[in-house]
Amino acid sequence: MRAICLIVVGAILVLGIPAWAQETVSDVVVKGREEGIAIAVPPFATAPGLEALGQKMAALLRYDLDFTGLFTVLLPHQYPPDFVGFTSDAAQIDFDAWRATNAEFLVHCYLYQEDGAYLVDCRLFDLYAAQTVVGVRMKPEAGSLHLAGHQFSEEIVRALTGVPGVASSQLCFSGGPTGSKEIYVSDYDGVNLVQVTKHNSVSILPQFSPDGRKIAYVSFKDRFPFLYILDLDTGSSVPLSKSVGLNVAPAWAPDGKRLAIVLSKDANAEIYLVNRDGSNPRRLTDNRAMDTSPSFHPDGSRIAFVSERAGSAQIYAMNADGSGVTRLSYQGGRSYDPAWSPDGRSIAYVVERRGEGLEIYMMDADGKNPRRLTASPGSNESPSWSPDSRHVVFASTRTGTTALWTVNVASLEARRVPALDLPCQGPDWGPRRK
């Protein structure tokens, strides 16, 4: 599944990047699309016969860049009046005409074939510095052309903002109608949907392993709510935990060797730490109230979780050995589903206030600065962070059916994950692909 090799063909010169782009993600405040980096991504130049594919690939790049919220992507009517399309030769680009469009950056790509395989030469030009910022030749493996496009968009975002984009990442989630749910994987934009379980049961709450090659999930396929781990490379699914009572809410430790899970064999939902093969369960919580929904800090030292020890469901954090418990949420409603951001600085979670439904919130990792990310009718739940900590994916019933949505945590722009035509729940956002 390792899809492509990126070969740098030109000198990579990162020039003229605005000072703010060097700052860390959370300090970037996107106030509106007009203030994003202006960039043009016209249809790719192509060998004869590949024109339609070249159009689709450019559209994919435009989607990826627009998704970040950091760019203003030029529309076709904003291109130079005389522009009818690129040739394969980047030297023929009329840079003066493109500078007149107010674009700051321009992407030129040439798509062709050699021995039946696709090749794509891509360059990102800084129009004002008149320099190539990034130049790559991509030779995707069969079926990986779209992934190559996503990875080039990540390179563009990295070159211009300091942090790569997330367009190569995938989502896993449960999909299907009530009583019949399977685990699915798709690209982050909903494309390339693959059903990865065929249990003819209810399979839910999938969680990617840190390397993205395994999925821990809950399934009723063997009559009880047991935990399983699916290997995406082999397609085989093995049990993780089959205790009497609940076996739910898996959360991978960042090292990928252990998981926090929730068992009720003590006649109460408690959080356990188990090895990846299910061995050596160690109980982390011990009180009369329910404890559930663990989520690791990215360095593995702390675990956020839900507990009802204060009477209603609230977010807490503890050390990975169960010590040092602190309460984090004080929103005046119940709080659920904590998810620690990959940069460790924030926790996304769900707040339920009577009469308001479920909304996605985020707070600093110490519980300070809680703020609402969604404001919509219906239920918004199961938040999970993008690898760059700039977006949160969640399940929402705002349009009637349960669908996946993302929210940009800086701009609060929400958008539905396109292309998914089935009811979707419980998303988890996986890592970038290599």
Binding site: P225, G245, V248, A267, A269
Partner: protein
């Protein structure tokens, strides 16, 4: 003292019931039939396994009995036992639920050689993950009360279906009220 006397009576009744019912060759009632194609609650006998030798271990402290649930045989609805209902986001047993559980306990005492499985369910409000824990808490609350009523905790297991198997697919309080429930199954050892 009155309370003490009642418990003695319950225990005595239980002993008599066990003597009467748990005789060799005693056949289980075949009163309940369940569509085995049903993937969800109270259905399916996919477990296979003769169940031979898969006994019930003594419960340790307040934990669930150490039942190897995979070795259980057919699980089917205990149709004579009434369903109980809960208030929103609550596992507290309402007075009507307590009355139903008292009747259910007597029925279960007549079936000493089966494992009782309590199913906990939720309405669609609350998150999918939280509702799995809430459904379990409802099942555990019912189990606790049944134990207090004299049904051995060594043979009561729980299962939570969270919000996954609503009894009523509607999206209003009328439906939600029917979905916040615990129902009772019997499982062959």
């Amino acid at each position: 003292m009155k309370r003490h006397a009642r418990w003695t009576l319950v225990l005595a009744t239980l002993c008599v019931a066990v003597l009467l019912v748990a005789t060799p060759g005693c056949k289980r009632g075949k009163d309940a039939t369940i569509d085995p194609s049903m993937a969800g609650p109270g259905g399916g006998d996919a477990g296979g396994g003769s169940g031979a030798g898969s006994g019930v271990e003594a419960t340790t402290g307040t934990g669930l009995p150490g039942v190897d649930v995979e070795k259980l045989g057919k699980i089917e609805r205990l149709k004579t036992a009434g369903t109980i209902y809960f208030d929103f986001d609550s596992s507290a047993l309402r007075p009507d639920a307590r009355e139903t559980l008292k009747q259910n306990a007597e029925i279960m005492k007549q079936l000493p050689d089966v494992i009782i499985q309590v199913e906990g369910h939720c309405d669609e409000r609350g998150t999918q993950e939280y509702n799995l824990a809430l459904g379990e808490r409802r099942a555990l609350a019912a189990r606790d009360f049944l134990v207090k009523l004299g049904v051995s905790g060594d043979r009561i297991i729980t299962i939570s279906y969270g919000e996954e198997f609503p009894a009523d697919p509607g999206h209003d309080e009328a439906a939600w009220g029917k979905n916040r429930r615990a129902v009772f199954n019997k499982a062959e050892k």
